[in-house]
């Protein structure tokens, strides 16, 4: 047998010529064939039509073809036996040839027989016999055929051969092409599987029965792939056959449901789905009416208009010339590609070329366009069709699991899915109903609890009607929830703001959907941009990985990949915190480390390593502790660093480091001797004065412990160093107790000479500085170790000598388990003794502590928002610094006008000094700015070119040409013409104090330039225009109110609306980029302004420290949208401006 292209053609000829039966080979959704099927049947005039349709579902055909049934509809059948998941699903749209054939038969009153294997047939592969001759597979021919048609697979082959060349051909030509296509598909793929062979055998049998029933003109409508297997004449061509009869046929429950385009779309996951259903529909409509395809051009234009409207909704600029150009391109492309009529590919290519202009919004534009082509359209059933059974089936399912289906009174169910399989099934069912939005069960317990979940359920009439509406998605809870979830997924794919329903997929137990969503998230980078949501997602995944989510097992590789990316994103978010001075950053980092604890990636190690060398001691400590806990560093290394904090000259560094250790790894500090040993050792062995000089910051550091932590710490200290177990008893008695203990021990040894006793450790109270190895000394100086720890932990020491210290410190740090931010009321309530006035307190600490510590404490007091501290203390004596100004600014809201007036001189001093410092640096960068235009005013250098140009009319010849210029043009130095506007948007939500101060001063300096106008906008959730105060930074700073949330989008919009000439505008955004809500509107605004020509820069911290805490995700998105983001000093900002102005 020749295996070549000739075989294909010859076989096609045989099939096409066949009259008994007359073959109409189709693809299940083919607009072209649907349009021509009726014509083909009109020409052949059959007396009977056979169709590839399950024989046991023949009764449903009249309902499908009913005049009042509006497509798309779907036929779904399930076997009646419970527990069997053999399910068949047949969607029908107007562009399904089978539907058109059904309608034709009804209209022309021709009998229609279903010829395919019954849906309930049980197929047993072992029992069959078949002539197993391999199909004549000729890969060489098929490859060149595919290449000729430019098709990558059989789907595209059909598209090229039939769909794209349908217009203007006769129905007979198309029929032949379809048959040829089917043969190619058959012979180029793998051999047909046994199920296909059994089905074809059944179809052959039905054909023979029809012939013997006396029908003379039989038309057979089936997938063109099958034609070869059904025709008797191709039997000799060595195609495999199967002659085995089917053993068992189950009874099927069938139902017809209305369907929709979105579910029909191949991207919704339906395997035989079709892409762009709306276009297919249009092709069918147009070809049905005018088979020459002349109206398809207009249909294309309609679609382009729809897409244009959608793009305008997304704020893209699409005008009439764009639409005209798109249409022209679509038609020209189809001509270039030799298509008979314009195809969907031409249209999408044209839209992409003409309308999408290299935007940041490209992805969304494409998604939006795709959504136009699969616009939602729903089908309707005829009144005779039975009601879909979703409601009934769900009721049955609930009953089977013992959940209430009758009463509307709520009942509470406490489920343990991990332990009981029945509870697991209940939980999953309830989750699925929740996904569908059916108000049956309400979850009461916390979402992330593993062990039990608590639900409140009630069967109300609402539940019943809700189930009725959702029938289109499926017949039972599984398929309905799944279908609905798929639609939700599709919608979320197209809308950039919406979350992908990953949790729903996990809870509803759809591992394949989960994997699909996870893959989508990875490929399209649809991760949330803030750390908290990312961590939430990461926790979900680590729970799944650990098997804590009820035997839920999605694709392992995808899960790992997703987890890795989340960890990496968290790390890059944390990058923005690497210089952070705040405890929250430590908490965030520790949460991520905990999440990754099972399998820490290298990048996380490096990040932690980078943390250790961060200038912020808090972060450095966090890095060390986490590295020790991960086993990457020896505890002793961290321990020695911790022990050496006492040598650090800077109080705040020492405090920060210790605080960092306590905040990130308290239990490490408590339990691990190597880590805490050196620290404890120093505390024990340093002398009194040294101790007192370290005490304030030690107290500050340990104030980070909560009361519960404190208690635990104390008890652990007690366990560790036994002599401290008397920490709540009188100190100084420890020595006596030790002696008594020794005496008792001697006595017991006397009484029981045979028993071996462990040697007790003798503790003696010694005032000598010497330390003996085996014996602990209680103290080295006068202050006992007890007292030292009591002072550090804020417990009132028994030793009255140091009560004063404790009191003074408690005033600032709170008593006992207080901590940051506790306000003490002077002269009123308060625990124990309190100070009547601040001055007394100040006097006290002056006496008790060194001057350095005194300043430290006073500043702390100011930071703790002690209004009294600010007014009553002589803070003029404190060295003026921006730090102090920061504190005052945050305090400003609680001060009276009078107080503020009294502070003015101090503030003015600080501001003036800062201005002086900055001006000298910044001015040099901004000098010499010229305006681009030349003018007639006499100043500066001559613009020769312009002069010559302007005087060309005044040439005299004597005899050589000489220009007698009377108008001269000069390059102008910057005069009082406001050429440029600089918009300074300053984020005044908390933690930006320092930047606000520097921004105000810098704004004043820039405003003094002649060519530039400065607008100052302060924003948190509101935006305030303070441009009038730009020249007086002092008043500006006093006007600003620190605090509140962050709404960057609104600030940007306000600034944009204030711009008179965007190409001559600069926008400087000083912010930490922690946008309160979704950052998508912000990015759109930035992109819009960038397109308008505004020059933008984002600054995370505008000060002299170079440290910033900011959301790197949002910042990098902003950078991609057109705003360069960085951390800079006022000098850098000036240089950036000057670069444009000069």
């Amino acid at each position: 047998m020749k295996s070549s292209g000739e075989t294909f053609i010859k076989t096609a000829e045989i099939l096409a010529a066949s009259q008994s039966p007359f073959f109409i080979g189709v693809r299940h959704h083919s607009p072209v064939l649907s349009a021509f099927a009726g014509r083909m049947l009109d020409e052949f005039k059959p007396d009977c039509v056979l169709m590839e349709f399950p024989a046991d579902l023949e009764d449903v055909i009249p309902l499908i073809s009913h005049a009042q049934t509006i497509a798309p509809v779907a036929l779904s059948a399930r076997s009646k036996e419970a527990g069997h998941h053999s399910e068949v699903f047949y969607p029908f749209a107007d562009f399904s040839p089978e539907l058109q054939v059904m309608r034709w038969c009804r209209e022309n009153d021709i009998p229609l027989k279903a010829a395919d294997l019954p849906a309930g047939a049980v197929h047993n592969p072992e029992n069959e016999t078949s002539e197993t001759i391999d199909a004549p597979n000729s890969p060489g021919v098929s490859e060149s055929l595919m290449k000729h048609f430019e098709a990558d697979d059989t789907h595209e082959l059909w598209e090229r051969m039939i769909e794209e060349s349908g217009a203007g051909r006769t129905s007979e030509e198309l029929r032949r092409s379809a048959l040829l296509c089917g043969i190619i598909m058959r012979m180029t793929g793998e051999s047909p599987d046994s199920e296909t062979l059994v089905r074809e055998a059944h179809m052959r049998k039905t054909l023979e029965e029809a012939i013997s029933d006396g029908y003379k003109r039989i038309a057979f409508v089936c997938g063109s792939y099958h034609c070869v297997g059904i025709s008797a004449q191709t039997l000799s061509l060595d195609f495999p056959r199967n002659t085995h009869a089917v053993s068992e046929i189950r009874e099927m429950d069938s139902c017809l449901v209305p369907y929709s385009f979105s579910l029909l779309d191949s991207r919704s996951g339906y395997a035989s789905g079709i892409d762009f259903p709306l276009w297919r529909q249009k092709v069918w409509e147009n070809l049905y009416e005018s088979p020459d395809g002349s109206t398809l051009d207009n249909a294309a234009l309609e679609l382009i208009l729809k897409a244009a409207r959608k793009m305008r909704e997304m704020n893209m600029l699409i005008t009439f010339p764009d639409i005209r150009e798109t249409w022209r391109m679509a038609l020209d492309l189809s001509a270039l590609r030799s298509h008979k009529s314009v195809t969907i590919r031409d249209i999408t290519d044209a839209i992409e070329a003409s309308c999408i202009k290299g935007d940041a919004r490209d992805i969304f534009a494409r998604r939006g366009i795709e959504s136009v082509f699969s616009e939602e359209r729903q089908g309707h059933l005829c009144p005779q069709a039975p009601i879909p059974p979703l409601g009934k089936n769900v009721q049955t399912e609930l009953e089977a699991l013992g959940l209430p289906v009758k009463s509307a009174t709520p009942a509470v169910f406490r489920l343990s899915p991990a332990e009981s399989p029945k509870d697991l099934k209940r939980h999953i069912l309830l989750c699925r109903l929740e996904i569908l939005g059916i108000p049956y069960g309400e979850r009461i317990s916390e979402r992330d609890t593993n062990i039990t979940t608590v639900w409140r359920v009630a069967w109300t009439p609402f539940v019943h009607s809700a189930l009725g509406f959702l029938a289109v998605y499926g017949q039972d809870s599984f398929s309905a929830a799944r279908g609905y979830l798929k639609v939700m997924f599709r919608k979320a794919c197209e809308t950039p703001d919406e979350d992908i329903p990953l949790y729903a997929a996990a809870e509803g137990a759809f591992p394949d959907l989960f994997s699909e969503m996870a893959t989508f998230i990875i490929e399209n980078s649809r991760f949330p941009s803030d750390a908290a949501s990312l961590q939430h997602m990461g926790i979900l995944i680590s729970r799944i990985k650990q098997g804590l989510l009820y035997q839920f097992e999605p694709d392992h590789d995808v899960l790992e990949a997703l987890f890795d990316i989340i960890i990496n994103k968290l790390i890059s978010l944390h990058e923005g915190h690497i210089n952070s001075p705040s405890i929250d950053s430590i908490r965030a980092i520790s949460a991520t480390v905990a999440m990754a604890s099972n399998s820490m990636p290298r990048t996380l190690y490096w990040f932690l390593e980078r943390c250790t060398s961060s200038p912020s001691q808090l972060i450095s400590a966090c890095g060390w502790c986490n590295l020790v806990m991960a086993g990457k560093t020896e505890g002793s290394v961290a321990g020695s660093i911790l022990g050496s904090v006492f040598e650090l000259g800077d109080i705040s560094s020492a405090r920060d480091f210790t605080k960092g250790v306590l905040a990130s790894a308290l239990n490490l500090f408590e339990m691990d001797e190597t880590v805490s040993g050196p620290f404890h050792e120093r505390i024990r062995t340093m002398n009194d004065d040294t101790f007192l000089s370290h005490l304030p910051w030690l107290r500050d550091a340990f104030s980070v412990l909560s009361s519960a932590d404190r208690q635990r710490f104390v008890s652990i200290l007690g366990v560790r160093e036994d002599h401290l177990s008397g920490i709540f008893t009188d100190s100084g008695d420890a020595a006596i107790l030790a002696r008594c203990d020794k005496a008792g021990f001697e006595k017991v040894k006397e009484l029981f000479p045979d028993i071996e006793f462990a040697q007790p450790v003798i503790k003696t109270d010694s005032t000598s500085p010497a330390v003996q190895d085996e014996t602990y000394t209680v103290t080295v100086g006068k202050i006992s170790l007890n007292a030292r720890w009591q002072l550090i932990l804020g417990i009132m020491p028994r030793d009255k000598n140091y009560a004063a210290h404790a009191r003074a410190l408690s005033a600032v740090f709170g008593a006992g388990g207080g901590g940051e931010g506790s306000h003490l009321d002077f002269g009123g309530a308060g625990s124990g003794d309190s100070y009547p006035t601040v001055r007394e307190w100040e006097a006290d600490i002056g006496g008790l502590f060194t001057s350095e510590n005194r300043d430290f404490l006073v500043e702390k007091a100011v930071r703790e928002n002690w209004a009294a501290a600010v007014t009553d203390l002589d803070i003029d004596a404190l060295p003026p610094s921006v730090d102090l100004l920061e504190s005052i600014m945050s305090l400003k809201g609680s001060l009276s006008e009078d107080r503020i007036a009294r502070l003015r001189p101090l503030i003015k001093r600080i501001v003036d000094e800062l201005t002086k410092r900055l001006r000298s640096r910044v001015s040099s960068a901004l000098s010499g700015i010229k305006t681009p235009f030349s003018s007639r005013r006499k100043s500066g250098s001559i613009d020769l070119k312009r002069t010559v140009k302007g005087n060309l009319s005044k040439v005299i010849f004597d005899p050589n040409p000489v220009i007698m210029a009377d108008h001269f043009y000069f390059r102008k130095r910057a005069a009082r013409r406001m050429e440029y506007t600089v918009f300074l948007l300053v984020d005044v939500s908390g933690s930006m104090n320092r930047s606000v101060i520097f921004s105000a001063v810098t704004a004043a300096i820039i405003a003094s330039l002649p060519a530039v106008e400065v607008k100052f906008l302060a924003f948190n959730t509101e935006t305030v225009d303070l441009s009038g105060l730009v020249s007086d930074p002092l008043s500006l700073l006093l006007e600003v109110d620190i605090g509140g949330g962050t709404d960057i989008f609104r600030a940007l919009k306000t600034a944009h609306s204030m711009m008179k000439s965007p190409p001559r505008s600069f926008l400087v955004l000083v912010s930490d980029f922690e946008e309160n809500s979704s950052d998508y509107p912000m990015m759109r605004e930035i992109a819009a302004m960038a397109e308008a020509g505004v020059k933008m820069t984002g600054i995370a911290a505008l000060d002299d420290t170079g440290k910033a805490v900011y959301n790197t995700q949002t910042a990098s998105k902003a950078a991609a949208a057109g705003m360069a983001v960085g951390v800079s000093s006022p000098l850098d900002l000036a240089r950036w401006l000057a670069g444009y102005l000069k």
Binding site: L333, L336, G358, A360, G1093, G1122
Partner: protein, 379 residues
């Protein structure tokens, strides 16, 4: 090519491919848009190339020395649809804007289109911040101007004006680097197709066949800077980096071979190293290794052109310093390519070494194993 032409470093497309273009002009039976040298379908064929040789239609009289068949060399490796769309765009009333990452052959494509459609690619404006308006409209020969007054001979036409006079395509490279006011001169040229010269009191109108191809980089000073009015007069096409690994490898080998041949020495090309270079570039560019492992992408562009450059440098180094192990140079070159702006990129390269390179070494791939051992070079 004449010997003189051979001595030049680089030749324009219309001279390099003269033989093919002439042959295709004879072969072309399809209708041509006014002012075009070839029909759109033939333009596409010229750029994409053919597998099977084309045969001259029967009965066509051929000048001496011309073959009856020609196999057209593929010049652009990539998506056919892209070329089709570009061609159709140029046949319309809009300009063509090619955008993409650096090193994706945008300039090469614009040259090929100009050569195929107009027969010349010499009407070109190189966009820089210093481009004055004379580059887009016209300038003056000032001495003649002062001597003879405003006469047509004193006018110095810009490439745009010359292209309009000839009905050819003008190419503007890196248009976004020009000042926005200068770029916007193209707006009225593209809508009206006329340049007014008030000094001579004439309006110069463009002949049929005039169009504009502009290129822009997506990376620095991207298309965000273009005014909306200007954008609307262009159709945008994004030229993607080469998707197929085998095609890219082939391209790199070919181009490296070409450049090495020009050096005059007989320098061999190490296949394994070139493969490693291309693989590394692709991994770092896409963020995904061939085996499916994720790679942390550095912020630098890893373009094919740069891969060629690295490959050439390494081959030259091996030729001139034969005692050195060729592998040892690789990490250094790669680091030089990767670490351009961001210091964090070095960390990402280190991560790459610890990730995919280490894994490949563990799988006993000899080249990668050697490379992994050279990790210290990166520190």
């Amino acid at each position: 090519m004449t010997t003189k032409e051979k001595s030049y470093q680089s030749l324009p497309a219309e001279i390099l491919w003269k033989e093919e273009l002439d042959w295709l002009e004879l072969y072309d039976q399809n209708p041509k848009p006014p002012g075009w040298r070839l029909s759109p379908a033939t333009v596409v064929t010229f750029i994409i190339g053919t597998d099977e040789p084309l045969r001259m239609p029967k009965g066509k009289k051929l000048p001496s020395g011309t073959n009856a068949t020609l196999r057209v060399t593929p010049k652009y490796v990539g998506n056919r649809s892209l070329i089709e769309r570009c061609t159709v765009t140029l046949a319309g009333e809009r300009g063509l804007m090619l955008v993409g990452e650096p090193g994706t052959a945008k300039s090469m494509l614009s040259e090929l289109f100009a050569a195929a459609i107009s027969g010349t690619s010499s009407f070109t404006i190189q966009g820089t911040a210093g481009v004055p308006e004379e580059a887009f409209r016209y300038g003056w020969n000032y001495s003649m101007l002062l001597g003879k007054g405003p006469v047509p001979e004193a006018l110095v036409p810009s490439p745009v004006l010359s292209a309009m006079r000839q009905g050819a395509i003008v190419r503007v490279e890196e248009i976004t680097r020009c000042m926005p006011e200068i770029q916007d001169m193209l707006i009225s040229i593209l809508s009206e197709r006329v340049i007014a010269i008030p000094e001579l009191e004439i309006m110069e109108r463009a002949l049929q066949g005039f169009s504009v191809i502009a290129t822009a980089n997506l990376r620095d000073r991207g298309v965000n800077e273009m005014s909306a009015a200007l954008k609307r007069r262009f159709n945008f096409e994004t030229v993607p980096p080469i998707a197929d690994a085998a095609l890219e490898l082939d391209l790199v080998k070919r181009q490296t071979r070409n450049l090495l041949d020009r050096s005059g020495f007989d320098i061999p090309l190490d296949e394994e190293i070139t493969q490693a270079i291309v693989t590394a570039f692709r991994d770092l560019r896409t963020g995904l290794s061939a085996e499916g492992w994720t790679v942390d992408k550095p912020s630098t562009v890893m373009s094919t052109a740069e891969a060629v450059s690295v490959s050439v440098s390494m081959a030259l180094e091996k030729a001139f310093f034969p005692s050195k192990d060729i592998h040892s140079a690789f990490p250094g070159y790669l680091l030089g390519t990767v670490e351009k702006d961001e210091p964090a990129d070095r960390g990402k390269l280190l991560a790459y070494w610890d990730g995919p390179v280490a894994r490949r070494g563990k799988n006993d791939d000899p080249v990668w194993k050697k490379l992994h051992d050279l990790k210290d070079v990166l520190k």
